[in-house]
């Protein structure tokens, strides 16, 4: 069972990410719990600079943007390939 967390202080993009993640989990039948973390102090514990961020089993997989459905599928099933969220994309809320 995977522990998925969505970090973000309740902005539009954070909700988008949460919905996208839930959709992927449902369609792929992944066993996972989804939790939204809105408390800024908790968010800062993950040492990120931009929200929303996707955390799976306490590892930050993606930050500052909402990945596509395909990419999320990849991230949630196989884990990071080392290419997500590191490009300083501006796709934030």
């Amino acid at each position: 069972m995977k522990k998925v967390k969505i970090l973000g202080s309740g902005c539009g993009k954070c909700n988008q990410l949460a919905d996208a993640v839930k959709a992927v989990i449902a369609s792929e039948g992944i066993e996972a719990s989804v939790e939204k973390v809105e408390d800024i102090q908790q968010i800062m514990a993950y040492n990120i600079l931009s929200t929303p961020a996707l955390v799976v089993d306490e590892k930050v997989l993606c930050k500052g943007r909402v990945p596509s459905h395909e990419e999320l599928k990849e991230l949630l099933t196989n884990g990071p390939k080392g290419c997500c969220g590191n490009h300083g994309s501006s796709n934030c809320c």
Binding site: S9, K13, I40, E71, K81, C84, N86, S89, S90
Partner: protein, 353 residues
């Protein structure tokens, strides 16, 4: 995001050739459209059998000419910025700024604020992340002022509506405000007005790292396109509505209507414009077309510019977000210093131009 890393010379990879020629063709098309806008607007009026002689015709012409012009420019600028963003992640900016001293650090921070992707809802993590990495408070503020104020949408719209000189001037003045505000806040040594939990976090220093591997050009250009889709998708309606309103003012409000209110001889217009603008929250796209129309009716450029800067740079929602990390006194100083800087810009503009 997947796909093999290219091993041979970048320019020769077929995929790159495809992308580069695509971008080149798009650029040519943009230039072609852009240089024929007046003809297009005049022709449309002719076909519809409307002349520019009456008010309605003039307003309509303004609308048909301005909307595509602004949208084309916005498309070009936002795409370029989307690509630039792939080179400057917040993490990389943090590495560049960490340990910089006041002065040069402020100049760098303000400059990086233009090109680093930033959104106000990430302001808090970014703020704390910078401080944790040893970026001085004043330098962090320079970044925090410049990043939202000098954004590509504002620059593209200014460029489209007032020409490149005004856009450049806005950028320079924005940099000035950001650098000066950061210097002042740094000098005031206000570290103890950070919220207590932030001060504690600061003791747990983070060694800044820029993660991320080099990207291939197709990926970067792809990012540019998704940036374009997102931003233009978000603001095009504002632009159309704003230009529509502007067209109405353009056609129907009498010439020199604004002179007595916002003209350059009315000294108090700058502070009043800033006071009204600070709590307002609007994106550049919504405010600019109105601004253009006001200018056309005799409002002074400096006054209008100060109004715009204060709307974009400071807003009530942003203050509420920052309240989580700053004590009220530091927020007040931050807003006050930036507002004073913007007023100075307004006065200088009015005097010089």
């Amino acid at each position: 995001m997947t796909g093999p890393r290219q091993k041979f010379p970048e320019a020769l990879v077929p995929e790159n050739v495809k992308w580069i020629s695509g971008v080149f063709a798009a650029a040519l098309l943009l230039i072609l459209l852009y240089s024929n806008l007046e003809r297009f607007a005049a022709l449309s009026l002719q076909i519809a059998g409307i002349t520019r002689a009456d008010r309605f015709g003039e307003a309509l012409y303004f609308f048909i000419y301005e909307v595509p012009k602004v949208l084309l420019l916005l498309t070009a600028v936002v795409f370029v910025m989307g690509v630039v963003h792939t080179f400057v992640s917040p993490e990389r900016t943090r590495v560049l700024l960490s340990g910089r001293r006041t002065g040069f650090g402020n100049v760098m921070a303000a400059g990086l604020g233009i090109v680093t992707p930033f959104c106000s809802c990430s302001a808090v993590p970014l703020f704390i992340g910078f401080l944790q990495a040893g970026v001085p408070l004043g330098v962090t503020f320079s970044f925090l002022v410049s990043a939202p104020m000098i954004n590509e949408v504002a620059l593209a719209l200014l460029f489209g509506m007032f020409g490149w000189k005004v856009a450049l001037l806005y950028m320079i003045m924005g940099l000035f405000v950001a650098i000066a505000a950061g210097l002042v806040i740094g000098q005031l040594r206000m570290e103890r007005y950070l919220e207590d939990w932030v001060q504690k976090l600061q003791e747990r220093t983070v060694f800044p790292e820029a993660d991320g591997e080099p990207m291939s050009w197709p990926l970067r250009l792809g990012e540019g396109i998704s940036h374009l889709r997102e931003i233009v998708g978000k603001v095009w309606l504002y632009i159309v509505l704003g230009v529509g309103l502007g067209a109405g003012i353009h056609g129907y409000v009498p010439e020199n209507f604004m002179v007595s209110l916002m003209g350059e001889n009315v000294w108090w217009s700058v502070p009043v414009a800033v006071l009204i603008g600070v709590p307002m929250y609007s994106n550049a796209a919504g405010i600019l077309p109105v601004v253009e129309a006001l200018l056309g009716k005799g409002a002074a450029l400096g006054t209008v510019m100060a109004f715009m800067m204060s709307v974009i740079a400071l807003s009530a929602p942003e203050m509420i977000i920052l309240r989580k990390v700053l004590k009220p006194r530091l927020i007040a100083v931050f807003a006050g210093v930036v507002a004073v800087g913007i007023m100075l810009v307004g006065f200088v503009f009015n005097l010089v131009l």
